[in-house]
């Protein structure tokens, strides 16, 4: 199992993501610098971590989405390699148009950090197969720009196609239809604002995030 974490200038959850991947696979991921053009050969899982790539300047995720490595990430995604984007990683994936929609400033305008209940909407994807449909799980959020937006037709379509992976059980940031996590149409790219890598250990106060990694990495093992 070869995993990779993409590191942008300003990423700050790259280590946390690496810890989670190593905990589940028993093997440290490759840390891939944004300026690299190629992923390590045989990479079979890619994570885009949280943080403030390029300081969130211009728009969060906008500059990172134009990094050289993103072409390889898009190619890999096209080949069906699983790609997980968390928080800023989700913002990068929407900016790179690997996922629909956009993430705007939270409706309350403030940064929000708290553990929130999520409803699992799709338990069939490779990332969510360890959850039961409709199950409520607890995962921390920490973001300023997590207010998911897409036009009504897009929202109808992704809901109809079962591409909403998670929904906030209570409104957190004003997201359209309380969407917290979105899959691409092939189901191998997941973007989510909550941080599963912050819920993998009893010391975190919960391990609901661990199950996501176990499912996503276990499928491939």
């Amino acid at each position: 199992m070869k995993t990779a974490v993409i590191v942008f200038p300003g990423s700050n959850c790259d280590r946390d993501m690496a810890v989670a991947l190593e905990q589940v696979t028993g093997r440290a991921p490759a840390m891939v610098w944004h300026r690299d053009t190629d992923l390590p050969d045989g990479t079979d899982f890619i994570a885009l971590p949280g943080g403030f790539s390029y300081g969130d300047y211009l728009r969060s995720g906008a500059m990172a989405a134009r990094s050289p490595i993103l072409r390889s990430v898009a190619d890999a995604a096209g080949r069906g390699v699983p790609v997980l984007g968390v928080c800023n990683g989700f913002q990068v994936l929407t900016e790179a148009q690997l996922l629909p929609g956009a993430l705007m400033r939270n409706a309350g305008l403030n940064f929000v950090c708290r553990t929130v209940p999520l409803k699992v909407e799709n338990s069939q994807s490779l990332f969510t197969a360890s959850y039961n449909a409709g199950e409520e799980i607890n995962i921390p959020v920490a973001h300023h720009d997590g207010n998911y937006f897409a036009d009504a037709a897009t929202l109808d379509r992704i809901e109809g196609e079962g591409r909403v992976a998670f929904r906030y059980a209570d409104s957190v940031n004003g997201s359209a239809r309380d969407i917290a996590g979105v899959l691409n149409d092939a189901g191998n790219v997941l973007g989510m604002m909550p941080h599963p890598e912050r819920a993998i250990d009893r010391a975190h106060g919960g391990t609901d995030g661990l199950r996501l990694f176990e499912a996503a990495l276990g499928v491939l093992a």
């Binding site: 946390d16 810890v19 300081g55 305008l109 403030n110 950090c113 250990d201």
Partner: protein, 747 residues
């Protein structure tokens, strides 16, 4: 473009904050009239902020040593041994707290943000990866017309910077008092972890070694910030906005990663961040500590603007910059790292053996002064001080008519209300090692181990005002107590000493008194001070108050718990548990929040801290937690036992029935702010062992009540007073959202 050299007039000297006597010292030190660049350098190095000229003589009295102290005050931050990390590597905690009061009042967002940035640099410049940020904030009256803007700006500034650099903000404290109406306090603390054999110091050495500038470019921002922070605010405080620096946490994050990457090699001889007084203080301190000279080429300093003078470059407080001395031949290796992180890197000079600071600009020598006098001949004042008169004992204290109603009121008052609105705006979890925020002390796992750092910031300014010695003791003891209350061993503290104008003998008396009390507590608790910062002249005429702040020696304590699974929180665990008070009870109402909030009286002496009882009780609590006997623990502080019980109840939504006879009057028993007192629940099967050990340790244990469902009931003679947890929660959670409202984010 060279600036015509103006003659140094008495007005120019005064504008630089130097007294005529101090200017005479400058003349004596260099044997001639300084030019403007030289005067500027003397003025910042001899400012209160950099020279500690009013406090140095008293700071020496503080205990700074213990077997686990690796480096005490004098470096960028203090360093203590925290035992082994992953792979058996010996680790150190590196930490410090610093003020950014004046800038935060003028421009709260940038003031607070750059306060966080500055303290982070103090810690990573020594080789540590920052693992936790904490803060200590004091605001004026919540209804003061400027206060919402200040609160909002400061909170957003702290979050904006800390969240972006990816260091969790895990703890802090906030007080409100009218004495801060015109002069808020923003104290920021960073704790970092380094390997003991990878700690970096600031003493420059090696004649001919390159001096390297890294980070952001130098601009015209923040010129003379240190001098501003060394004077009272006049009515023109707002006009000083251009002296506030602007922070860029993104660059800071890159700088952290680049510095730590370079520090993994052996290329660095010495390193120092550019904080207050920027390039001047960093270069002077590095040279002075190493006993060497410096030759700097100002043309090579990376500049944000064209046409900057040497004077501007030396006094700029542009953020996110560091100065290093490298081993010869390591320049290209280091440069590659900084360029990878897209940061400026420039060799700007060399270490010399002249003992002089020589600056060259446009082919001319624009400064040539001996370095020794800048440090050694800095003014040192033993300013006159008068002790603060003792407060008369309280008289005519009314009894409470309804404990539960008073409790509900207190839970919604500014000093006690829930700080959720604040801390939810801070990323407290990044790093994925945060185990607890809130509670008595924050807990952050030492990465890759089963051990954790425990940290707390504390000070009770109203106690310090009423009795500086007792207040100084209490501030130190409270951090020690909070760290003990989670089960950790307190190791050392940093401090941030905020006072008003030291040229007034009564203010100087507060400083001397607080330091005396702090020193007593540090000695008694074996809890040395390893770093700190002094912020004076915290008074303001800007709001028509003419008021001095309350003396506020904020303390940041750090400890370690050996097994993080043994740590306990404040929340009750289940109904039916017996609640016990552990420690000496006194029923002390003087200077209590209850007396102030319910009766409008700020009176009486503050509670006494009996340091021998404090040590005995805290040591027992820690032992009992690590033995696994205690299931919940919370120390008594603001608002007394009633508020402590309410906080324990709200944490886990389990109530308490207080049925036991109390040793004092009702108000005294429940609202007295007794020191060295803890409330605990103990597991059933451990109770006998617990009581036995308490008896042997000579620690009093008093039953208080037992846990029940969903309400707090005070069963008193004649009547029951009760309040539901839902009502308490509403009062507790309401204050900040009501104050800040929806428009709070717009500041």
């Amino acid at each position: 473009m060279t600036q015509p050299a103006p003659a140094i007039t008495p007005e120019i000297v005064a504008e630089h904050g130097l007294s005529p006597e101090e200017y005479d010292r400058v003349l004596a030190a260099i044997g001639r009239e300084p030019n403007l660049v030289e005067l500027g350098i003397f003025s910042v190095m001899w400012s209160e902020h950099c020279s500690y000229k009013s406090s140095r003589i008293h700071l020496k009295k503080l205990p700074t040593e213990a077997p686990w102290v690796i480096c005490g005050p004098g470096e960028n931050a203090g360093v203590i041994d925290i035992g082994e990390g992953a792979g058996g590597k010996k680790l150190a905690a590196i930490f410090k707290m610093e003020s950014h009061n004046h800038p935060s009042y003028i421009e709260p967002y940038q003031g607070a943000a750059t306060g966080v940035g500055g303290i982070l640099r103090d810690v990573f410049t020594m080789g540590a990866r920052p693992v936790a940020n904490l803060n200590a904030l004091r605001f004026g009256r919540p209804d003061h017309p400027k206060m919402k803007h200040l609160i909002s700006g400061v909170v957003h500034g702290i979050g904006g910077y800390g969240n972006c650099v990816g260091v969790p903000t895990v703890g802090g404290e906030v007080n409100f008092h009218k004495a801060y109406d015109g002069n808020i306090l923003v104290n920021a603390m960073t704790v970092g972890v380094a390997e003991q054999d990878k700690i970096f110091y600031s003493a420059a050495s090696g004649v001919g070694n390159p001096i390297v500038y890294v980070g952001s470019k130098t601009g015209r921002d923040g010129i003379h910030g240190a001098t501003m922070a060394s004077a009272d605010f006049g009515e023109d405080a707002e006009e000083k906005r251009p002296t506030v620096q602007v922070g860029d946490p993104f660059t800071e994050k890159l700088l952290i990663e680049a510095c730590l990457e370079l520090m993994a090699s052996d290329a660095i001889v010495a390193i120092q961040d550019m904080g207050a007084a920027g390039l001047t203080s960093s270069s002077v301190e590095m040279a002075s500590k190493g006993g060497v000279g410096l030759h700097l080429k100002m043309d090579d300093v990376p500049q944000r603007e064209t046409g900057m003078t040497a004077y501007e470059m030396m006094l700029s407080e542009s953020q996110e910059r560091m100065l290093m001395v490298l081993k010869p031949g390591k320049e290209e290796f280091a440069k590659a790292i900084f360029h990878k992180w897209e940061l400026d890197f420039a060799v700007i000079g060399t270490v010399t053996d002249t003992g002089r600071m020589v600056l060259e600009h446009h082919g001319e020598i624009v400064c040539d002064i001996p370095l020794a006098p800048l440090a050694d001949d800095a003014p040192l004042y033993d300013r006159p001080h008068v002790p603060t008169p003792k407060q008369p004992e309280l008289t005519n204290v009314p009894e409470t008519t309804d404990v539960a109603a008073d409790l509900k009121t207190l839970m919604g008052t500014p000093d006690i209300a829930s700080r959720r609105w604040i801390w939810e705006q801070y990323d407290s979890q990044v790093g994925a090692d945060t185990l607890q925020t809130g509670g008595d002390a924050a807990l952050v796992r030492i990465h890759g181990t089963n051990r954790a750092l425990a940290m707390s910031t504390d000070c009770t300014p109203r106690y310090c005002y009423a009795d500086p010695v007792e207040g100084g003791k209490q501030a130190v003891a409270e951090t020690w107590r909070n760290i003990s209350a989670v089960g950790a061993t307190p190791l050392a503290i940093t401090n941030c000493l905020n006072f008003a104008n030291p040229q007034r003998p009564e203010i100087m008396g507060q400083i001397v008194g607080c330091l005396d009390g702090m020193a007593q507590a540090c000695r008694a608790l074996d809890y040395p001070i390893v770093s700190g910062n002094v912020s004076l002249y915290n008074e303001s005429k800007a709001t028509g108050g003419g008021s001095a702040i309350l003396p506020t020696p904020a303390i940041g304590g750090v400890g370690v718990i050996e097994d993080l699974n043994k740590a306990v929180g404040i929340g009750f665990r289940r109904t039916g548990d017996i609640v016990l008070a552990v420690g000496e009870r006194a029923g002390h109402l003087g200077q209590s929040v209850w007396l102030r909030e319910i009766h409008g009286r700020e009176e009486g002496p503050p509670p006494q801290v009996n340091l021998r009882c404090e040590k005995r009780t805290g040591d027992f609590i820690r032992t009992a937690i690590n033995a696994g006997w205690i299931t919940a623990c919370h120390d008594v502080s603001d608002g007394g036992m009633a508020v402590t019980l309410a906080e324990m109840a709200l944490k886990s939504n389990i109530g308490v029935l207080v049925s036991e006879e109390q040793p004092f009057g009702v108000a005294e028993s429940f609202f007295g702010e007794d020191q060295g007192l803890y409330l605990v629940t103990v597991c059933d099967t451990c109770l006998a062992d617990f009581l036995d050990a308490a008896g042997r340790a000579d620690v009093p244990v008093d039953p208080v009540g037992r846990t029940i469902k969903d309400r707090i009931v005070f069963e008193l003679e004649g009547s029951d007073h009760q309040v539901t947890l839902a009502e308490l929660r509403e009062a507790h959670e309401g204050f900040f959202p009501n104050l800040m409202g929806a428009d709070a984010a717009l500041a």
